[in-house]
């Protein structure tokens, strides 16, 4: 029956179509001539549009070849780089002759080093040197390849294992350049459309990582958890509007353990609370705090007694406390392993020279054997912080526990250049009196939030009480003399 119905239906339809056709032909005959002409033109126009050459908007110009040549002739590019005046204050670097160790020769003057981030004094360690030498004897200097292509050495694997063990995490991954570590790690996870909440004082490599990730970046006021929570709440409201989209937008908080630009510590316990409340992942940059804070030098997590598994990714360089070269990331394998194929600085760069990896391993050995060293460093930091208090015209910026303090002018002259000149005069005065200091350098036009000019004062375990007193005294004298 159904079949029958169908066939009858189709017969009816066919008849109907036939009728329509007849009607159309009739209408064609009856239509006025102008109507037909108009329709004919329209059809031709459509055909023309269909077959005309496609063009790019940009190329649509009616310029003749000659006019183009003239334009090319006329075009004057800007110079590749603007001219730099010969007496630019930062053009001529201070020259260090010999090793940058506790005793350092800067511009020909022998000084005590208060400027290199050699917090644990491992740069001069004979043990580290010997280990590096034996590694050099075995492997030579360079690796001649990226990790993927015969650039993975057994010492790299050993170092990764040791770092993971030291930090008590599942896995660690090493990079051949400290700067590239966090700058590669961030874009490995955070992509276009994702949201990153960042502290305003975040260091330059974090900023570059964010830029490379092309994510949506929201800055919160430095160490201000209320401001961060305000942003997180805003985002929560935003998410409720479009829950489907919210389900795929990854969110991260990126902070530093100990800020290099402000010398203070991030409020990690509060951050962890916010993490679970708003379901945001935390990336922690610990270049300044690794090997400095905590009873065993594990950094800011140990300092606050925060469970390291609550932090999604920790990154640090091996250039400060470890006094080698390179950087590492550590955390759970679920997170870290992803970088082995997605970390640009890991995949596309030659691996770390084995002798530098060996040096880092030996430095870790020393740190593990003698955890008292961190106590000593922390005491010295506190001492230096106290000694620098009350320097006339200069304020000490940073927490007592930080090994790299900033001295800023109490009263700015109003111009950055003049401020820098004054501070440089203090540095020069100290250099003449065997105290090596340095200005904190920034890229004035590139930093997201440019910190005020400052002198860096770095504390290391090698400095004696007297040397620190002497340095503080020297800075005080210089301040009195130069700042009046």
């Amino acid at each position: 029956f159904e079949l029958l119905f169908h066939s009858r239906d189709s017969v009816k339809m066919a008849a109907g179509q036939q009728w329509v056709l007849v009607e159309m032909v009739q209408a064609f005959y009856e239509a006025p001539a102008y109507h037909l002409i108009l329709e004919g033109i329209l059809i031709l126009w459509i055909i023309r549009l269909l077959f005309s050459k496609t063009y790019k908007l940009q190329e649509r110009s009616d310029l003749t070849e000659k006019e183009k040549e003239e334009l090319i002739e006329e075009w004057q590019p800007e110079p590749l780089v603007p001219l730099v005046s010969k007496d630019h204050p930062s053009l001529n670097y201070d020259v260090v002759t010999g090793p940058p160790s506790h005793r350092i020769i800067v511009n020909g003057k022998e000084c005590i080093n208060f400027a290199s981030f050699n917090f644990l004094g491992l740069l001069d360690s004979e043990r580290v040197k010997l280990k590096a030498l034996s590694s050099l004897k075995k492997y030579g200097v360079g690796t001649c390849g990226p990790r993927g292509f015969y650039g993975t050495f057994d010492v790299h694997l050993e170092l990764e294992e040791r770092l993971a063990k030291f930090m008590r995490t599942e896995e660690a991954i090493i990079y051949s350049y400290g700067f590239a570590t966090i700058a590669s790690a961030i874009p490995a996870y955070s992509k276009r459309g994702d949201i990153v909440f960042v502290d305003e004082a975040a260091c330059f490599s974090i900023q570059k990582g964010l830029q490379a990730s092309r994510s949506f970046v929201k800055y919160f006021k430095h160490n201000d958890m209320e401001d961060l929570e305000r942003l997180l709440k805003e985002q929560e409201i935003e998410d409720q509007k479009n829950p489907r989209k919210a389900r795929v937008i990854r969110r991260f908080i990126v902070v530093e353990g100990l800020y290099i630009n402000t010398a203070d510590i991030c409020p990690l316990p509060e951050l962890v609370k916010l993490k679970y409340k708003y379901k945001v992942r935390i990336f922690l940059e610990e270049s300044m705090s690794f090997g400095v804070l905590g009873e065993h030098g594990r950094g800011v997590t140990e300092h606050f007694g925060v469970n390291i598994d609550d932090i999604d990714l920790i990154s640090a360089n091996m250039e400060n406390a470890l006094a080698s070269i390179g950087g590492f990331c550590c955390g759970r394998s679920f997170v870290i392993d992803h970088q082995r194929l997605s970390g640009q600085g890991y995949c596309f760069s030659a691996s770390l020279p084995p002798m530098l990896a060996s040096a880092a391993i030996e430095a870790l050995n020393i740190m593990e054997e003698d955890p008292g060293i961190f106590r000593v460093l922390q005491d010295k930091c506190k001492h230096m912080h106290k000694a620098l208090q009350g320097t006339p015209g200069l304020k000490t910026v940073g927490e007592p526990l930080t090994p790299a303090l900033h001295l800023q002018l109490e009263n700015s002259t109003g111009s950055r250049t003049n401020d820098l000149k004054l501070l440089r005069a203090i540095v020069d005065y100290s250099l003449d009196r065997q105290i090596a200091l340095t200005l904190a350098r920034y890229l004035d036009k590139e930093e997201r939030f440019l910190p005020p000019p400052s002198i860096r004062v770095v504390v290391t375990v090698e400095q004696t009480q007297e040397e620190m007193e002497k340095a503080a005294q020297c800075i005080r004298e210089a301040a009195v003399k130069i700042l009046k």
Binding site: V96, Q344, T438
Partner: protein, 558 residues
């Protein structure tokens, strides 16, 4: 897809050529093009015959159709199996070895989208044992590998404790053989370690500017024949942290489509507009240059502030050499700036090892920014930028690396100084020169033999980077494993480092390779090639078109 068609040149181009001819009357060249695969045919300027002083032979033989079809089928089958296995894993029929999210964070937005890792999970994982092979010796002409076994199909590896001794190393970028643990370089580096230690713990602008760094920079400037230079701690970062200092908003970057990730990242970080031209295709580049100047910036039509061309000396995956004489001619004509990345070519090309500029016999001052790395030919680490004094002065102030990154380790610096002096002959010996000759001889020999065996190899005849085409994904793993069985370490690459159907093995010829080692490697390659049917080339081999070209060129060189 044929030989350059000179009759198609326009009036204007001929005019341009004549102008160029005035400058370089003595120059001559023969351009021979075999067919192309993914590379579009380049209708070459007649000028190229005038710009080159010696033959410029580059070949990219077309992918045979059947091979292409089979390759796509291979990927199709792998994908279907991938889905099947994902399904099995979901239903717990197959054990899943993937690391899992913590329980506490299960309700977070997933860190990875499932599809993102499909390729890694189902394709890469099957042949993962061919990469990251740990080595435990100098990465010289021969190396020792740590033996690994996997109990779970490459998800994890265990070291057996055995060492695979004396594997011939065809993978490391050790072009001049300076990866050594004995000899003058190693001795100098040891001495430097004793004196300086390994770290610096500060940046160049603060207090990490050692006398060693200054010494190196002077030497590099002399080596390159430029006014001044600056050295950085990492080659990748030399690009990514310095390009942003050179260009910014309102500038245009013209970048070769096969440029290295570091150049791409640097260009992206700079905030400039980026346009991409076809690989080594001068017509594509010229068209972009003309359009850019004529039309200015998009929408506003303001003229571009400046135009920067980014090219590499040797392209590491193709083995091709940049058509530098033509690039320089274009750059001069359109007043663009040229950034030349010599990561692979410095030390490896040119009669004096000074890179691609030396190879073509050009003037280094015609290249605005000479960049290169110390990782490869010098057996060290890091990178440099060389150029006019104004450029380097500017970089000393504005390079991200000089201000925010720790400076180069002293023993690494020393290694570069010593090896560079050796290449320059400043050590009073001819050892450096001998290495250069050896490399060039090895390259010619190795490429010629592979060609004769009937493999499809890409790139320039003079390039020590030799890609050998495998095409099919299943052959990636098997080639590398079969070669290792024959005690030869090779690099294999597939998607995403190459176009999807153009998987390849890559050999890097070194001056440290003896003829015996090369022969051993070549025999093994031939054996594996027969076994896996890799001899795809359809060109005649002996007394063939190809060889004819060689003899023809040789007669001209005389």
């Amino acid at each position: 897809r044929s030989f350059p068609n000179q009759s198609s040149l326009t009036q204007r181009e001929l005019h341009f050529d004549r102008e160029l001819a005035k400058h370089r009357i003595t120059a001559w060249s023969v351009c021979i093009f075999t067919s192309y695969s993914s590379f579009p045919p380049q209708n070459h300027h007649a000028s190229c015959t005038l710009l080159y002083k010696k033959p410029f032979v580059e070949s990219f033989e077309e992918t045979p159709l059947l091979v292409a079809v089979l390759t796509y089928m291979g990927y199709g089958i792998l994908t279907i199996f991938g889905y099947l296995r994902d399904f099995l894993r979901d239903w717990k029929f197959e054990k899943c070895h993937l690391a899992r999210e913590r329980e506490e964070q299960k309700d977070f937005v997933p860190l990875y989208q499932d599809f993102e890792n499909f390729y890694t999970r189902n394709l890469y994982m099957r042949i993962r044992d061919n990469w990251n092979r740990p080595i435990c010796s100098v990465p010289g002409a021969k190396m020792d590998l740590v033996e690994r076994v996997t109990p779970d199909y490459n998800w994890t590896f265990e070291h057996t404790g055995n060492v695979l001794k004396d594997v011939i190393n065809m993978g490391s970028y050790n072009y001049l053989g300076f990866a050594e643990n004995t000899g003058t370089c190693a001795d100098a580096a040891s001495e430097c370690t004793v004196k300086y230690g390994v770290g610096v713990s500060s940046t160049r602008q603060e207090i990490g500017n050692l006398d060693k760094h200054e010494e190196l920079e002077k030497l590099v400037a002399g080596f390159l024949g430029v006014e001044s230079s600056m050295a950085f701690g990492m080659g990748f970062a030399t690009n990514s942290m310095n390009i942003p200092a050179l260009t910014g908003k309102g500038c245009l970057i013209l970048s070769d489509e096969l440029n290295h990730a570091s150049l791409v990242l640097g260009a992206r970080l700079s905030g400039s507009t980026i346009r991409v031209f076809k690989h080594n295709n001068m017509q594509s580049l010229e068209k972009l240059l003309r359009d850019a100047i004529v039309h200015g910036q998009p929408r506003t039509h303001r003229p571009w502030k400046k135009i920067l061309i980014l090219v590499e000396g040797i392209y590491s995956m193709e083995g091709s050499i940049v058509r530098l004489p033509e690039v320089i001619a274009l750059k001069k004509k359109y007043e663009a700036y040229l950034y030349l990345d010599e990561a692979h070519s410095i030390g490896a090309l040119g009669p004096r090892g000074r890179g691609v500029v030396d190879y073509f016999g050009l003037d280094p001052s015609d290249v605005d920014i000479m960049m290169g790395t110390f990782t490869k030919s010098f057996g060290a680490a890091g990178g440099y930028i060389g150029g006019k004094k104004e450029l380097i002065d500017y970089l000393r102030l504005h390079s991200h690396s000089a201000i925010h990154a720790t400076s180069m380790s002293p023993p690494i610096t020393q290694q570069i100084i010593t090896s560079m002096k050796c290449i320059m002959g400043e050590d009073g010996t001819t050892l450096g020169q001998e290495r250069l000759c050896q490399l060039s001889e090895n390259t010619t020999y190795f490429r010629r033999r592979l060609h004769e065996m009937g493999f499809i190899i890409y790139g320039n005849n003079d390039s020590p980077v030799v890609p050998l085409m495998l095409y099919m994904p299943a052959k990636i793993g098997s080639v590398s494993r079969f070669m290792l069985k024959r005690n030869i370490g090779t690099v294999v690459v597939g998607f995403p480092a190459t176009p999807i159907i153009e998987s390849r093995a890559r050999f890097c010829v070194s001056a440290a390779h003896t003829r015996e080692m090369l022969d051993k490697a070549l025999n093994a390659i031939s054996e594996v090639g027969d076994l896996l049917q890799l001899k795809y080339s359809r060109k005649n081999r002996h007394g063939s078109e190809g060889t004819d070209c060689f003899s023809f060129l040789e007669s001209h060189q005389d």
